[in-house]
């Protein structure tokens, strides 16, 4: 938060000299939001690029006070989510179908390298499999729950930030996050059952 406030101050003072710092500070999280919402790296990449270019255009049109008051984390999340929703609307809203096994090679990189000697190759494989599985479950959530769950638990926004990003009361977004987690649990348990049945069949 503090670094974002400082970034907003610098943007108000010198947009062109500061914008690269904004891109570097936010590109991973915006790409993550788009990827987890849309379910594939190609669309996520285009949407993230578009969102950052639009952010530049928007800031260029704002006066200094408005730039200084920007809460960059929720503000940028709103831009990327709006573009994600537009893209879903254009592709007839069926993201789940193209979600499985579509982590791009770039996107599949684990944030922490598996350099820890305690981490066995089997554990790395398990973790990759868990990520693939949870990503698939998230992308099959209804969009109304997917966005709050991704912003709260993948991106790590606070509830006040979430309320800004989704432009809804805090109580509403809290309820949506809880409902989204409940749906995820049900979906996970259903997939476990399915797997077991397949193994015993």
């Amino acid at each position: 938060m503090d670094t974002d406030d400082a970034l907003a101050l610098r943007l108000a003072h010198d947009l062109d000299g500061t914008f690269e710092a904004l891109v570097l500070a936010h590109q991973d999280r915006l790409y993550t939001i788009a990827h987890r919402f849309l379910g594939n790296g190609h669309d996520a990449e285009e949407v993230t690029q578009d969102a950052l270019v639009r952010a530049y255009g928007a800031i260029a049109g704002y006066d200094g006070d408005r730039i200084r008051a920007l809460q960059l984390r929720p503000w940028l999340a709103t831009i990327v989510l709006n573009l994600c929703r537009n893209r879903l609307a254009r592709s007839h809203g069926a993201p789940g179908a193209l979600s499985l096994d579509r982590e791009s090679p770039d996107g599949a990189t684990l944030p922490e390298p598996a350099a820890d000697p305690a981490t066995s190759p089997a554990a790395v494989v398990d973790r990759r499999e868990a990520r693939r599985r949870w990503a698939a479950l998230v992308v099959q959530l209804p969009p109304a729950y997917r966005a709050p769950v991704v912003l709260r638990h993948v991106d790590g926004l606070s509830y006040p930030e979430l309320a800004i990003a989704l432009d809804r009361p805090e109580g509403t977004v809290k309820a949506q996050v809880h409902r989204g987690l409940a749906l995820l649990r049900t979906a996970f348990e259903a997939s476990e059952r399915l797997e077991r049945e397949e193994m015993t069949a």
């Binding site: 891109v23 590109q27 790409y31 987890r36 950052l52």
Partner: protein, 272 residues
């Protein structure tokens, strides 16, 4: 066997592990898209391969360099921006530049002149109006942009033209009728490019030395810059040469409305 029950904490930590890194090229793509970084590649030209850099606002640099590293550091020095090597120009841009160099003025090529003063931009815009295969003196530009005394500043502005060939500063010559200096590798390159456009630089300089600075037609009584496309259509038996526009005016000739030679009239030819 029973399904292990999933508590919220477990789900939350699984979700927190879903973060990703953006593809490594994404930041540069964004910066190029907003004009805060450039891409560059090579094009062919009458003087050999040239470096061309561009971003979303237009072509920012045309230049010569020893190698990629030298080009990148000179580009950064001048613009403050990073230049990233691309395999080739975007096909549409490459085609427009090739057509422009071949003499077709129609293709619209946006240029990024950020950092240039109003005066410099006016000089470059005016130079861009000079047709393929024609030349005008520095004083002509100065007069046309309403700064008739700023001839030397015009020369300096053209010397710092960041996009030679696209803005054809090679078509601006010294007021005494010599071809003059060229920022893109020196005066020999200027002559080569003009020759590729069908103008004979040796012949042009020979005429200037002989005092033939303006040319007119006895049938129309119109006087032109010697390379004006209308002047070149005049038949030799009707052609007349003038040392100065005053001499032409005394003989009853009016300036051509296309090449507007009156604009350079305040500067007297200094060839002794």
């Amino acid at each position: 066997m029973t399904t292990p029950s999933m508590d919220d904490r477990t789900i939350e930590s699984a979700l927190a592990d879903l973060t990703l890194s953006a593809p490594s090229h994404l930041a540069v793509d964004v910066l190029v898209d907003v004009g805060l970084a450039d891409r560059y590649a090579m094009i062919e030209s009458p003087i050999g391969p040239l470096y061309v850099a561009w971003n979303a606002r237009g072509v920012s640099t045309v230049g010569l360099a020893r190698d990629d590293a030298a080009f990148e550091s000179e580009h950064r020095e001048r613009t403050g921006r990073t230049a990233v090597r691309a395999a080739a120009l975007p096909p549409a841009l490459g085609a427009r530049i090739a057509r422009r160099i071949a003499g077709d003025r129609r293709p619209d090529i946006r240029v990024d002149l950020r950092g240039r003063s109003e005066f410099e931009q006016a000089v470059l815009r005016k130079a861009a109006e000079i047709p393929h295969g024609e030349v005008r003196p520095y004083g002509w530009i100065a007069a046309e942009i309403g700064r008739p005394k700023a001839v030397r500043a015009v020369g300096t502005a053209l010397g710092h033209n960041p996009v030679p060939l696209i803005v054809p500063c090679h078509r601006v010559v010294r007021t005494d009728g010599t071809i003059g200096q060229y920022s893109l590798g020196g005066p020999d390159n200027k002559r080569t490019i003009l020759a590729a456009e069908g103008l004979d630089p040796d012949d042009f300089e020979r005429r200037a030395r002989a005092g033939e600075h303006y040319t007119g037609s006895r049938t129309t009584h119109i006087v032109c810059n010697p390379t004006c496309r209308h002047a070149r259509r005049v038949m030799d038996k009707h052609r007349v040469w003038f040392r100065s526009l005053d001499a032409a005016a005394d003989a009853g000739y009016r300036p051509c409305k296309i090449c507007r030679p009156a604009s350079g009239a305040t500067v007297v030819a200094i060839s002794a």
